[in-house]
């Protein structure tokens, strides 16, 4: 059992059953995370990135429901695994780094406690003092200055960047095979963002674990990613290696995204933006979901496109590239 894919998501659908109607937050998403790679998931707010990442370990809260699909992790379908077995995977094999480090840490416990708790959860024979020492070792690894003192600090005594390091320390405490980082730098200021990204990258190199990085910041994508998946309104519109995507973006949405990023090398009068706004997820446009905003839309776009291979490792879901 050693395929190059660590995680394989097949036709994942997560729907939210609200009073206003069914929100198809994730609607038939398929992708894979390869061993040791950093995969970026890019998309606008509300396109289903976070929900999709939570669905991987069945962390979707009601009224959200995983309707169908397969999440193969090392060949095991996590969606069919009993809760008890899944608990052993959460935090040990797959762990999360959340967006807002300020509210991820329990205000009543010290920074070190959070890491020690995660360690103890997955090795019950360990003593608390041993777990604490391990926590301090990990703190040193994530470059927290004065780890002994910081481990005894409460979350409100730490800065945002420091808290995010603690969260990262918690995430890597059991050297997981997959780290899912959900916009880990959004709540941090730019200089700290760079440090945190650098840290995530160096940890990947050290443990050769895979990272799934969810972000809407294309700068971050260019900086650290190996491969990119672009999501729009609950569907994947394009997936490619980073260089391929930046040099040869296929989907009109990806093109729009890239044009909306300022490029110091190209002198342009003003930045382009994508017309219109994200569709109402309850009342989606017929056919291609990008249709109403797409500058190239034509007749065929009233039917739903499928994700197809444009070239090797470059997938796109757009009628412009049909063969």
């Amino acid at each position: 059992m050693h395929s190059s894919n660590l995680l394989e998501v097949k036709d994942l659908r997560v729907y939210f059953y609200t009073y206003a109607g069914v929100v198809k937050a994730v609607d038939g998403v398929s992708f894979s995370v390869r061993r040791g790679e950093i995969l970026c998931v890019v998309g606008e707010t509300g396109c289903g990135k976070s929900v999709m990442s939570r669905a991987i370990t069945r962390m979707v809260k009601p009224p959200g429901k995983i309707v169908s699909g397969e999440v193969l992790f090392n060949g095991i379908d996590l969606l069919k695994l009993p809760e008890k077995e899944l608990k052993k995977i959460r935090g040990r094999e797959i762990s999360y780094i959340y967006q807002d480090p300020g509210s991820v840490l329990d205000p009543l416990y010290t920074a070190g406690f959070h890491v020690a708790e995660t360690v103890l959860t997955h090795s019950s024979s360990m003593k608390f003092s041993e777990a604490w020492e391990k926590a301090i070792r990990i703190f040193r690894e994530v470059l927290i200055p004065d780890p002994e003192a910081k481990a005894k600090s409460y979350p409100h005594e730490l800065s945002g960047g420091m808290k995010q390091r603690v969260v990262i320390a918690t995430a890597i405490a059991n050297t997981p095979k997959l780290v899912i980082a959900d916009e880990p730098t959004t709540a941090l200021d730019v200089t700290v963002q760079a440090q945190v990204m650098e840290l995530i990258k160096s940890l990947r190199d050290k443990y050769s674990s895979s990272v799934m990085l969810i972000t809407h910041n294309l700068g971050v994508v260019a900086e650290v990613c190996d491969r990119v998946v672009v999501m729009y309104a609950g569907k994947i519109v394009e997936a490619a290696f980073i260089e391929e995507l930046f040099t040869n973006p296929l989907h009109p949405y990806t093109q729009g995204l890239l044009e909306a990023v300022p490029n110091p090398l190209r002198k342009i009068e003003r930045l382009r933006s994508i017309h219109g706004s994200v569709p109402n997820m309850i009342d989606l446009p017929k056919g291609c979901r990008f249709n109403p905003r797409c500058p190239y839309a034509f007749k065929l776009c009233n039917e739903e496109p499928v994700l197809m291979e444009y070239s090797k490792d470059h997938l796109v879901s757009c009628w412009l590239y049909r063969r």
Binding site: T57, M59, K61, K87, K88, I89, R90, G91, R92, S95, Y96, Y98, D100, S103, V104, L105, D106, P107, L108, E117, T118, T121, H122, S153, Y154, E157, V167, T170
Partner: protein, 308 residues
């Protein structure tokens, strides 16, 4: 003031827990009323613990040789609260009564709080049908006036201190279920609970190590206030003859016994009544003070003052 502020900010970074206590003490010091409440409550607890050992006279035994001589004497130096119809020293009886009230309130709380906590925690965390069942049962209890229900239970169980405690415990837990559940509903939506789940932490551990400690703060105030209410309710039960039976020196019972002689022998009912009043008042103002200490807005003001 500046010097003081420096000291406080230093202690904050070094030992946060001590800082918390210091800040709490500072708030108490600033509010004379809370201080008074604290003194009364501590005094009550101390008297409850040692009261029966320091009474100047035996509070229960009747010295029949002295009944005629000492009967219903007004307050004097010898008997500060006067004497009852059997010539017993009322001061000693009131003092001994502190223990009865303390035991009753502690017993009721030690049943009502755990029951309320566990049920509230389960109802709030799991939701759905479990929540529905627990809360509807709670609603049934809460739809009757507490004291009336307590009277009914205690009358059914038979008069006596033990049945009074049991009856009060039965009526007291539902309000805690509500408070805890409401708090759990807030806390369980916090990101750190989801994060703990995502790290594979067991449900029991999440409930008791993360949700519970984050939910008990409002309960602390309620419990303090309720201590007074339980004392009042148990006195009420004893007053109508359902709680403590003679010769137990219970405050409510003493007030009821003195009623026969009121207003001529006013001290008989007056002093036990005063004891109830002061104790309940003490718990109430301490509860109010605690609410202020635990209210972040109030504290923010205080910390801000410190900077000036």
């Amino acid at each position: 003031m500046l010097k003081k502020f420096n000291r406080m900010s230093l202690s904050r970074s070094a030992k946060p827990i001590i800082h918390e206590w210091r800040l709490a003490l500072e708030v108490v010091k600033r509010s004379p009323l809370t201080m008074m409440g604290l003194i009364i409550v501590v005094g009550f607890i101390v008297l409850g613990a040692i009261g029966p050992y320091i009474t100047p006279y035996n509070p229960i035994e009747i010295d029949f040789s002295l009944v005629a001589l000492k009967r219903l004497q007004p307050p004097s130096l010898q008997h500060p609260f006067g004497t009852d119809e059997y010539g017993r020293d009322l001061f000693s009886r009131v003092l001994a009564g502190a223990r009865v009230s303390l035991i009753v309130s502690l017993a009721v709380m030690s049943i009502a709080i755990p029951v309320g906590l566990v049920l509230g925690l389960i109802a709030g965390y799991y939701g759905g049908i479990i929540d529905e069942v627990i809360m509807r049962i709670t609603d049934v209890f809460l739809s009757f006036p507490g004291l009336v229900l307590a009277i009914a239970f205690s009358a059914t169980l038979g008069a006596g201190l033990f049945s009074a405690m049991l009856a009060l415990s039965i009526v007291w837990w539902p309000s805690y279920v509500r408070v805890v559940r409401a708090q759990v509903l807030v806390v369980r939506e916090q990101l750190f609970i989801e994060a703990a789940k995502a790290m594979g932490v067991s449900t029991r551990r999440i409930l008791f190590k993360h949700i519970l400690p984050n939910s008990v703060t409002p309960l602390l105030v309620l419990v303090t206030l309720d201590f007074g209410s339980v004392i009042l309710a148990s006195s009420a039960l004893s007053f109508i003859g359902l709680g403590a039976q003679p010769p137990t020196p219970e405050w409510g019972r003493l007030v009821a016994d003195g009623r026969k002689w009121f207003p001529d022998k006013w001290w008989y009912s007056f002093f036990p009544g005063l004891a109830i009043l002061i104790t309940v008042l003490g718990f109430n103002i301490l509860g109010d003070g605690l609410r202020d200490i635990l209210d972040p807005r109030f504290r923010r003001r205080l910390e801000f003052k410190e900077v000036k």
